[in-house]
């Protein structure tokens, strides 16, 4: 094939300028890389790179601070919304967001999450829900589906033993402090475009002081689920989307 078309004027896509040239630790097929890219693009699109502080979680995204060329604080497990609360209150003209997984946000950090959202802190929480603890090797998460096998529910999640999956995003949509609560995914090009719009809306709402935003990204963890990336996407579409249906759960922002 000829390389003649590879020239600057034909460039239609490039790595976001806020993505560092660092080898990511994420597994091939993982959703994190795509979401990182979207966050990086939105910050650059909003020209907020000099005024953004990210708060990374404990979990697979603990090293998010290595990948985006902005200021970061790494929070204790589950505490990112409390950390972000203070940063935003003390620097109200900054864009402050947290990036958290299901274990961090919906289990150990449930109190911090619910209360930051309910206070209407002008922050955005980007919530990666892959229904499993990825970093520690595939244990049961608060969002693990009924019947789903993990290393701590190897015979499948049984509500009699393990309780039910926690739909924290729906809970968040019922809180008075939230202005924008949405559930997205990044397994197809249209879904990615939609997810980017959602992140942009959430960040804009944060800067306009409209309240708290929660952007859930229903995600895959092919390593933890022990399937191929392609199979993981299929499994997510068939199983996750029925329990965690996509779309806006709440939008009072008035932002297009």
């Amino acid at each position: 094939m000829s390389n003649e078309i590879i020239s600057p004027e034909n460039l239609v896509y490039t790595k976001p300028k806020l993505m560092n040239d660092t080898i990511m630790h994420y597994c091939p097929g993982c959703s994190h890389g795509v979401v990182h890219k979207l966050v990086a693009e939105v910050i650059a699109d909003m020209q907020m790179e000099e005024k953004t502080i990210g708060v990374s979680p404990v979990g697979c995204a603990v090293f998010a601070y290595r990948y985006l060329d902005i200021d970061w604080q790494e929070a204790a497990h589950g505490r990112a919304p409390a950390v972000a609360t203070a940063i935003k209150r003390l620097w109200p003209d900054r864009l402050v967001f947290t990036y958290q997984g299901d274990g961090d946000l919906a289990c150990i950090g449930t109190a911090e999450t619910i209360h930051a959202l309910n206070r209407g802190e002008n922050i955005t929480i980007v919530f990666i829900n892959n229904a499993i603890y990825g970093m520690t090797g595939g244990q049961m998460a608060p969002t693990t589906l009924i019947g789903q096998k993990t290393s701590t529910c190897p015979y499948g999640r049984d509500p009699e033993i393990h309780g039910y999956p926690l739909n924290i995003t729906e809970l968040a949509s019922n809180l008075q402090g939230t202005c924008y609560v949405t559930r997205q995914s990044v397994e197809t090009a249209p879904a990615i475009r939609q997810a980017k719009k959602a992140i942009r809306k959430a960040f804009t709402a944060s800067m306009e002081g409209k309240g708290s935003s929660l952007v859930e990204i229903v995600s895959t963890c092919n390593s933890g689920w022990k399937v191929s990336p392609v199979e993981a996407n299929k499994w997510m579409e068939e199983n996750m989307f029925t329990v965690y249906p996509k779309g806006d759960l709440k939008d009072t922002t008035g932002i297009k």
Binding site: I53, Q73, E74, A75, A76, A86, I87, L90, H115
Partner: protein, 360 residues
Amino acid sequence: MADGEVTLMKGNEAIAHAAVRCGADGFFGYPITPQSEIIETLALMKPWETTGMVVLQAESEVASINMVYGGAGAGKRVMTSSSSPGISLMQEGISYMAGAELPGVFVNVQRGGPGLGTIQPSQSDYFQSTRGGGNGDYNVIVLAPNSVQEMADFVDLAFNLAFKYRNPAMILSDGVIGQMMEKVVLPPFKPRRTEEEIVKECPWATIGRTKDREPNILTSLELKSEVMEMRNIHLQEKYKAIRENEVRYETLMLDDADYMIVSFGSAARISEKAIELARAEGLKVGLFRPITLWPFPEKAIVAAIQGKKGVLVAEINAGQMVQDVRLAVNGIVKVEHFGRLGGIVPDPEEIVEALKEKLL
């Protein structure tokens, strides 16, 4: 009230007033007896309308300390306060702050334990305070006020030390000092720092990566052991500098004394009276009061015990600081302990009796 005016207030109230006056940017707290007057006073003062200071009641002590982590990481002068069980909940955040080298201030108005314990005063968090308290090899700077005046004065001091060394600093008070009313002269008003001043003082702060610098990343995590060891060595070097430069203590009537009482905080006030009683009986007793519990004034104690016949460590616990005194004294003279437990505050007479019984 005007600058320099003498006023009467509780130790807890003095903390609140001093915070506003020393240019604090934020207070994040959760109610617990016997320190709730701190956040209550701040709420009444509404400093967000005057100095712009943020005051926020958090959902827990866990959230409070992590708000302090976030605020300190963003270069701001932020603090929290609690009492013993709440301080236990904060230990995770304090350890993370030590690891990420963040300069927050926290106040412990101690009550008796263990567990939910009692709401009455105690000094039984000495070990927790002076040994770090959470996981890992670290120390926090610990200041022990013995009066409402020192409650007021130590807020600014704690912030200054915290920022000087990028390390958490603690004011270790107790229910006696927090609740009692005394005369106090509040510190003069100092404006909050401007953004330019914060950038200059805290080039490490996460307030948005400007084009002229690399991103600031605040974390206590490092998976490479070789790098993590270097970070720990750096922390230990910092602690060594703090031990060399920041020891504070006070002595009273030690020159002619045959016996030395070592006490901190409220117990030191009781020991002062005990010394008066002992001297009225002809017993020459003096006081050594550590003001910094970490760094501990071990060299000063060794110097002070020369020529003394014995030491009584009087503290409101089962015998905690006495271990540090014994380590310092290293067998040169006899070191005994006296304490009351469970929220009982000892009388001066009990301390005199203990001294006679254990040392004479």
